[in-house]
Symmetry: C2
Subunit: 498 residues, 2 copies
Amino acid sequence: MKTSIFYLKAKIIDIEARVAWIVVLNKLDCQKLGIKPGDGLVMHLKGQSIGVYVDVTDDLVKEGEVGIFEDLSHRFEIEQGERLEFSFLGKPKSLDAIQSKLLGKGLNYSEMYSIVSDIVSRKLNDVAVAFFVASSFFEKISTKELFYLTKAMAETGKKIKFPGIVADKHSVGGLCGNETTPIIVPIIASFGIYIPKTCSRAITSASGTADTMETVARVAFSTKELINIVKKTKGCIVWGVGDIVPSDARIIEVASQLLIESYPKLISSIIAKKVAMGVKYLVIDIPVNKYAKIKNKKEAEELKKLFEDITKRFKIKTHVSINYAKGPIGRGIGPALQVYDDLLVLEQKENRPRDLEERATELAGYILELVGKARKGRGKEMAKSALKSGKALEKFREIVKAQGGDPEISSKKIQLGKISFQMKAKRNGRVKEINNHHLVEIARILGAPFIKSAGIYLNKKGGESFYKGETLFTFYTETSFRLHLALKTLKTKSFLKT
Amino acid sequence: MKTSIFYLKAKIIDIEARVAWIVVLNKLDCQKLGIKPGDGLVMHLKGQSIGVYVDVTDDLVKEGEVGIFEDLSHRFEIEQGERLEFSFLGKPKSLDAIQSKLLGKGLNYSEMYSIVSDIVSRKLNDVAVAFFVASSFFEKISTKELFYLTKAMAETGKKIKFPGIVADKHSVGGLCGNETTPIIVPIIASFGIYIPKTCSRAITSASGTADTMETVARVAFSTKELINIVKKTKGCIVWGVGDIVPSDARIIEVASQLLIESYPKLISSIIAKKVAMGVKYLVIDIPVNKYAKIKNKKEAEELKKLFEDITKRFKIKTHVSINYAKGPIGRGIGPALQVYDDLLVLEQKENRPRDLEERATELAGYILELVGKARKGRGKEMAKSALKSGKALEKFREIVKAQGGDPEISSKKIQLGKISFQMKAKRNGRVKEINNHHLVEIARILGAPFIKSAGIYLNKKGGESFYKGETLFTFYTETSFRLHLALKTLKTKSFLKT
């Protein structure tokens, strides 16, 4: 029925869905065309073929009209009354490839490309994406297939080329705090090296780097805007740009419903973006902690090897740094609190979190060594010099300005939650360890990452002593309801072991 | 955040979605509550907890209101203005079990029950269901796990008990025609045996038995109505009833997006319904043909063994009958054409499809032998006697009447498509074989199963000779456009090999 094309007139409907791209058809049109609720159609628009799903109505849209939800009309700039072309979706060919993979067959590049490309155009629905995720992220896929997947993810979006050395840093995450990016990016950029950092929002954590940065600047930009920012300042800290690796958001959305860490997902997601951004030098940070995403040496080494294998195939010079962390790095947990920590380091304040400074300069140092700016073993020192000279702070403010933020940003200007609660020590003691899971759960109850000013400040961390009456940690939030819930949860999920 | 309950006032929205159960919230409420589009909520309604997903609007519903889509309001009888109670969905525990299964761990009954129960309440969304399907339908699951799954599917819905012998017949399908049910049910019921047959609509075929029966009677009933019909007539031929094995529809909806036949899906879906209907005697029909679902002896024997193992655990006396079919059974392909064939057999017309009569009475005979009505080897004969005496036809009309159809139904009254096309033989010859796949594809292009009167009549079948000018097959449809497409498709996908 591929030949069968039909036209409907757009009527914008003020609903934003997320589950799928939805169009609403009148019941009479559906009967005429043999369409049922939930059926798939292809919308042909500005040279693109977009998979959409049908809701049915008696009178919300009239015969000959098609209701277009807000998110869809916004994304594809569909005008009220626009004449839209549709055809039947049928069964996408890429579904055969997913089917094969579910039955254990390996995929070649062209099959992998067809899957990723149909994920982007939404010709594959979320259920099909879930089948793909299940077939490829939990079963062993070969390094070759993982390379194909990563390549397909990079190739199905826009690619950028900057006129010079392009480096980057990425942490696999999973440890609280550890917000080194806002320190590393300005350090590297201050040496004239391109570092176009795209980062993600939190899925299960208390703050993704995009959430953190958004406290002081805009993070959502078009590719064109991103290029302009980086051309001006050499660096940026922005949220994943929609048309660079556009498959990633959908894959993550589906895969993240399970809380299993999947290396293929992790690696393809990270490396595809580096490939698309033209990154040639890369430092990967793998924090290891029993409460973190990567729990032990075995897991870390396995992941390191995979990163090395895949980046080699893309000819990206890579250093993978495994960090056996005792607990959270830095003291702030939550968007505002994390950028506050970063600013303390950039401003070289006395009370800055030293562990965060050490880790950030170590990673920045590896980049400087990789690109040949610093001699082997001298990178960290060089990175620290950019902090001491104030050049990194100056560069950070330049980037914040370019991203639409306050060019005079400082730690003092960071707004923390208007409701705070200080937990005082009832006796003298020493913090033994911090349970990352409980810490995140409570930070999220306080409102992080959606409420920027919410979170937890760890006044005392693992290994530190305290006296009776000293503050152990501080909660920040905006409503007494959230504080109430957090304190209630703390009773069963204490994160501080003393 | 489990403790956090909130209330909103229902506003019914005239949209029928199928993808998920959707509620629409005002943007301001979302900001207040920290809800994003696509987030899950639990709606607490009449003692049930129902998983719903959030769409967001600026003004389609006001603050304090919640937009309820038609399908949801209809299903749960939600009134305009009703005060509805919600809480946050969080991560359902059953997702942990699915996660374990994806990683290769076996599931116990309580885990399986939690998954199926959350599928029913929609606390698991379609993506999670897809993960479950991928984890359990393509990997080997043990017979024990399959038993647990089947039991959980039966136990999470209503169960019925009839006061007498309850038998049933089920075909695993996949072969065109083979519409034996409307012949078998009245035969068995005419002997005073309960045969409460629930059947499905076509997913990929030209007509499911529910589609076929719907040509002459209603097929959608509540459990209460079904019980009344069966108490009156001993038999019924109805579409799967919503609250009997309610998990089945969702699992099938998700699994059917892949065209891989999965034995665990097939068996759990069939047997759970038999268990819920209190069936104690069961005949399973496995048609085997290179173009059918089950392609060879090996597959058929494997499936047979699985059926025997599972039904034994439920103490259902079962006969599995493998049928090596040369091609379609009967001549009609499409809802009306299939019931037309059945009526020719019930009416014992000279031109009735003999192969269909043979197969139907064979299967009915096995049931009569299983329940002890007929001696071993004499069941088929007894079944035929019910056809010859007219008792089966009388019973069929009784059932049709009880299901709201014409009590005087006959083959002459069946409406076939108003546009027909007869393919004439251009030379003398003989039909070698019929390609089931192409046959179905073209029948569906003609409109089957959605257009009841559409389909293909095979005037000549495999093994039959024809003379130049004789009709080989006839197309029936309702629009010239569909006929045009079907004839075009026929050029590359001829189903008749001569």
